[in-house]
Amino acid sequence: MLKITRLKLGVQIVFFLLIVYLGYAGVRLIEWKNISLVLPTLSCYYTNHRIAQCFIRSLQEGLSAGWKVGYSTLLVPVILLVIFGLIFGRAWCSWVCPLGFVQDLSIRIRKLLKIGYYNLSDNLKQVSVLVRWIFVIAILFIAMGIGIPHFFLKEYQYDLITPFCQICPSKQIFPFVEGRFKEMFTVDTISTLSAVMSYLAIGVFVFYLLTTSFIRRMWCRLCPMGAILGLFNRFSFLSLRKEGKRCTKCGVCQRSCPVQVTEVYEEKKKEKIASSDCTLCFRCVEMCPEKDALKVGLFKFPIARSKYKRFLQSSAVKVTKLQKENSR
């Protein structure tokens, strides 16, 4: 039986290489009739030869260009977002997003060192949801504001251009990944506002570095892309499903969830667990020791189910030489 985590790691590596490095092999940003491939992930603009575009980037560029020229360019990214979101929900976050992968790597390193992690308290969890929506609203407001003639933000268009990119941790990480260290932490002092944005960026990045290993997927809890994608979790074709009657409420799923989704453990009635925090990584499915309690669903059909054998395979305590394969 294929281990979900292993499959996921494979998929993440493949996408990481595709998105970040395929360009080096001569493949250019996939464009067709001026329409580029926009993925609902942080596939960052600041990689040299990316083959897909970050949705947040496109959103900002489109809005800032004003309604005459800019808004029409948003049509394709938004259509793609809806299609991708409807099919996969937030699975993009745990299976494709390069920044998500980078975070998983730092978690893996910590795990290898057998160091523990911290959880956010319920209050901080709520704060994180608030922050991610503040990001979304700020992006919409600033990017749009720049695009409106005579609006006061127009004046600051050079300081505030692609405002989220200015502070996004990807902007430092991908130049690092590609070895362009000089392009990290560029402080722009052309105006006070630029300087503020530069230091804000450094602040965000320092926060990212400090938390990335020790609070699992901390950035994802603040990410505006994640916030938007989360809206699709309720409708997505790919989903996390639960058979409440089979759940013993052992709490293993909740403890294993990297983004601290509580619904997966608490819910006993609803079949679809559609928390907007859930990144559909399915760690909970492989860690649930109860047969069929949790399932990976495509529409209503289960394509993978929890069972004891899968649990043993996925548990951090390895069980060697099990006498007979266990079907439960």
Partner: protein, 445 residues
């Protein structure tokens, strides 16, 4: 082991009387054990692998000697009074865990000298064992871990402090909250420290990992046996219950191996269609107060020997299938995470009625309904030993739900003594009769 405190409850018995009680106890137990095993052997096509468990079931045998030798070499034995004690930590420190819940009838009569007969017989029996120093596995304990679950268990361990050092654990009655979880984790940490001090061995991450691996394998074996009981009758319920319970004091690794051997045999028997009962025998689920070897075999004997016969295919007992059912789910391998996983394993999935919740122990109900479905249960017997209030009190809710689902459920209240055997027989027969005719009429339509 004696403690220095002045006795609070337990009177000191006259040595001559003690001696007499001990002899009578040993003879009585061996007789009951032999009788029960004889009855179980009457089951057609009984698996050969049960022989091992039959041997362990005689308390005064090989295993007792093994533990005595282990102790002579300085090994520590840690008793526990309830399945909420973290066995992995005991194993990780190289000590032997022994569960001391008592299923003996005669000691409960000795216990009557201290507590009234209204008190649950498990408790009275444990008191009797301690008072007259009857039971080798209790006597060998260096310390007793007592998770304070039901009222009886809570108080019996206070009484046992007269004879043993007791480490109490404060079980949060409402378990589903973050506060409860962290509170319980603190208790587990404290017990860990105490075990380390007693054994002089520090419980490292590596030791914990090995211990968890041991119990995960035990869970695998236990679930394997359970799976084999879902289909045609390959093993009697009494045999399966005995297997479950021998994990009380057997070496866990050996127990796992032997259980797996038993499962191998059952798998062969499934191919040969060598069944222990007719395939249409009504399938019984037992739930409620624990049934502990050997004196509580009264009811299962009656069920499986009655005419019409019943076959126990599953139970929801803390003395049965539940013992090693739930695994320790370790998500990350750090010592802290393992400890958390161990702590949660003991309270979170536990269906004991000592926990309370607004939804009315819905987890237990879901578990039972799932068992009914998966094991194709014909009827449920709700066992309550007099004095076991929590199980008795939860019955009404269950009854209502089960009747709504049209699942026959029968309340059977009894004692440790055999005096009510005749009455029990009549009642069980009536219930099974009803199930048998029901299966027949169901078949007709």
């Amino acid at each position: 082991m004696k403690t220095n405190n002045d006795p609070k409850y337990l009177p000191t018995l006259d040595p001559a009387e003690k001696d007499e009680l001990q002899k009578a106890f040993k003879a009585g137990v061996q007789k009951t054990v032999a009788e029960n095993i004889e009855k179980m052997k009457q089951v057609p096509n009984r698996p050969k692998a049960m022989e091992y468990f039959d041997q362990v079931a005689d308390f005064f045998g090989q295993r007792e000697k093994e533990i005595r030798e282990f102790k002579a070499q300085g090994g520590k034995v840690i008793g526990f009074a309830c399945m909420l004690a973290p066995v992995e930590l005991i194993l990780a420190a190289g000590a032997i865990p022994v569960r001391i819940d008592s299923g003996f009838y005669t000691p409960s009569k000795i216990g009557d000298r201290i507590v009234p007969v209204e008190v649950c017989p498990v408790v009275r029996s444990m008191i009797g064992l301690a008072m007259a120093n009857l039971y080798p596995y209790l006597e060998m304990c260096d310390v007793i871990i007592s998770p304070n679950t039901c009222d009886g268990k809570t108080k019996v361990c206070e009484i046992l402090t007269d004879a043993f050092p007791v480490w109490e654990m404060n079980v949060p009655r409402i378990k589903d909250t973050p506060q409860a979880k962290s509170y319980w984790l603190e208790q587990v940490k404290e017990i860990k420290g105490k075990i380390e001090k007693l054994t002089g061995r520090s419980i490292t991450g590596k030791a914990m990992r090995t211990a968890i691996e041991t119990t995960l394998k035990a869970t695998a074996a236990s679930r394997r046996l359970l799976d084999l009981r879902k289909g045609s009758p390959l093993i009697s319920g009494r045999d399966a219950m005995l297997v479950d319970q021998m994990s009380y004091f057997d070496d866990l690794k050996r127990w796992t191996d032997k259980t797996n051997l038993l499962c191998d045999e059952l798998e062969r028997k499934a191919v040969d269609k060598s069944y222990v009962a007719a395939e249409d025998t009504p399938r019984i689920l037992l739930t409620g107060s624990p049934m502990i070897w050997p004196d509580c075999w009264k009811i299962p004997n009656l069920i499986e020997e009655s005419k019409p016969q019943g076959l126990i295919v599953a139970d929801e007992f803390c003395s049965g299938d539940r013992i090693y059912y739930d695994p320790v789910g370790v998500d990350e391998g750090s010592a802290g995470d393992m400890l958390k996983a161990i702590a949660e394993r003991y309270i979170m999935p536990c269906t004991c009625p000592c926990f309370t919740s607004e939804d009315g122990n819905q987890d237990r109900i879901d578990k039972l309904l799932t068992l009914v479905k998966d094991y194709k249960i014909s009827g449920v017997i709700y066992h309550v030993i007099r004095g076991c209030h929590l199980y008795a009190m939860e019955y009404m809710r269950l009854k209502r739900l089960f009747e709504k689902e049209k699942i026959p459920i029968y309340y059977l209240d009894t004692e440790y003594s055999r005096e009510d055997s005749g009455q029990m027989k009549t009642r069980i027969e009536a219930f099974l009769e009803m199930l048998a005719t029901k299966t027949q009429t169901d078949d007709l339509y």
